[in-house]
């Protein structure tokens, strides 16, 4: 499972960075989104991967990480998703504004712009 998850994170992150370096604003936006997916998965994986483990303490089971999954990264991921979503939405607005002002979707506002 570790292998699959790390390959998934790597592929998402690599594609994100490649798209981030592209000249069109929409590609940059998608790159940032993919990158934030990979970062969120990474945070999630940092709490050690486990299957069918409870995050909340159940009566009658010893409260340690052998029996439970770490709830902390889940809380962190939730916060990171919310913040990432909001900033991506904001980026989309700026992207559209630049599209309207410059008349094209190049990140510099034109192929030959400085």
């Amino acid at each position: 499972m570790e292998g699959v998850v790390s390959i998934a994170i790597g592929v998402l992150g690599g594609s994100g960075i490649w798209l981030l370096l592209r000249p069109r604003t929409f590609q940059v936006l998608l790159g940032l989104s993919l990158l934030s997916y990979s970062v969120n998965l990474f945070i999630f994986a940092m709490g050690s991967l486990s299957i069918r483990a409870e995050p909340i303490v159940v009566p009658g089971m010893a409260a340690d990480l052998l029996h439970y999954t770490d709830p902390m990264p889940q809380a962190l991921v939730l916060t990171a998703i919310v913040i990432g979503f909001a900033t991506t939405a904001l980026f989309l607005v700026v992207l559209l504004a630049l599209r309207g002002l410059a008349g094209n979707d190049h990140v510099d506002g034109g192929e030959d712009a400085p």
Partner: protein, 567 residues
Amino acid sequence: MSVVVASGMPHLIAAPILLPLLSAALMLLVSERHRRWQAGLNVLTCLIGLAVSAGLLAWVAARDAPLAFGVYLPSNWPVPFGIVLVLDRLSALMLVLTAVVALSSLLFALARWQRAGVRFHPLFQIQLMGLNGAFLTGDLFNLFVFFEIMLVASYGLLLHGSGRARVQAGLHYIAVNLFASSLLLVGTAMLYGITGTLNLADMAAKLAQIPATDRGLLHAGVALLGVAFLAKAAVWPLNFWLVPAYAAASAPVAALFAVMTKVGFYAVVRIWTLFFPAAGSDHFFFGANAFVLLGLVTLAFGSIGVMASQRLERLVGFSLIVSTGTLFAAVGFGMPALSAGALYYLLGSTLTASAFYLLLELVERARLGGDEAALADNPDEGAPFVIEPAVLVTAPAGDVNLDDAEQPLIGRAIPAAMVFLGLGFVVCALLTAGLPPLSTFVAKLVMLITVLDPSGLGNEDSSPSIGAWSLVTLLIASGLASTIALVRLGVRYFWAPQARPTPRLRIAECMPIVLLLSACAALMVGAGPALRFTQAAADSLHRPALYIEAVLSARPVPAPAARAGLP
């Protein structure tokens, strides 16, 4: 006042975060048509914020090193589990700096810029909340959250006034910062995975128990954090976004942004001094050499940029990069005395950059002749306070032999507005270049003396390293570069032009500049106490055991029942 502060502690520590939040929430309820109320509330909040920050600074300054920490547990949970706000000398200093710069930018914006777009005031307060929170928080994830709050508000403020240049610079700025935030998150997650905690003090205490096999992972996580902070602090090669973004931003926003690059610096200093303190151990100040090297390169890059700038706003942006480079190079040496000089330099250079951003807006407006065009969208608002061009009576030149071309200059009055702009420019130029007698000169002098003579005056065995010599050379060379560039621009802006309409300045817009420059002057006059304070701040930074002890020994307030002795 000290009694009031002492009785309000430790709850007062949360005030710099809660106050802007509350005020921004109230402002959102006020319609944009009643901007006057928003502005009034904003000014009031900034004034209270300044008073609270000054009170906290006085509280911290009055206490001795082991007690000079204020720890506040917002949710009343025991320390490593709940979030924690920590006030120490460095954070109190940054709070006051932020409050002064914020008040000045706001007063400047009231005259004109607040009308350039909607929701300026709430965004302004949210930005302050993010800044103050980043200075006060004691755990890594909240540092990320406050960084994001600060950045989200800054995206809005950068776009304030709109226009293609701002939107385009804003797009780059947002993309770079989002990417840096991803790195910050990855670094945070790695450190959590290794240590199992997010509390900075708890983490620092647990670092010693990390097995040698995990050291590499730890260093990778910290390095990722470092890259994120270096990008936000605009260290070469991660600083290409700064100059266009700050040059495109409206003047009061750029002035406020001058503090923002210092947040990255603050975060690096806070984390590195906590995590990698002990001189002589194997991981002493991990990456310190990289800080020195990157700082020196940034310093050189900034100086070249200053020389190459054709426009004033770009020049100020590069001077911010110069100051960032100086700070990182100085702190990388890991010497408390040098860090003290660097912190003192931080205050002076930030105030200078803010004042310069405000001033150059006025200079630029004077150069383009009047501001009627920009006022056209709001014809009902005139210019209430205008300095009438005071006429200086000059004796008419008699038979002096002069060129015909210069005739019109003779006996012409120098308008007071031009005098203000010129003098302001000279003072800002002196401060930017670090020339005597102003505060940045004192700061540079302190740094030069310390770096050349690390073990104190008169000691035989003190031989500065190559890095120290490079710092000395580059500090002096950057001053020279700034002087040349500023003199060149000053000649072009103030001497060369002749047939130019007299600029009309508003007192409301001159006051903030005077406020910032007099803060610089106060720093110069009070250099002794200020340096003693930054020395104490640097000393406690280099003894992180005190910070760790203060945070970990904080206990939640017991419930009322327990306090009354009941089970």
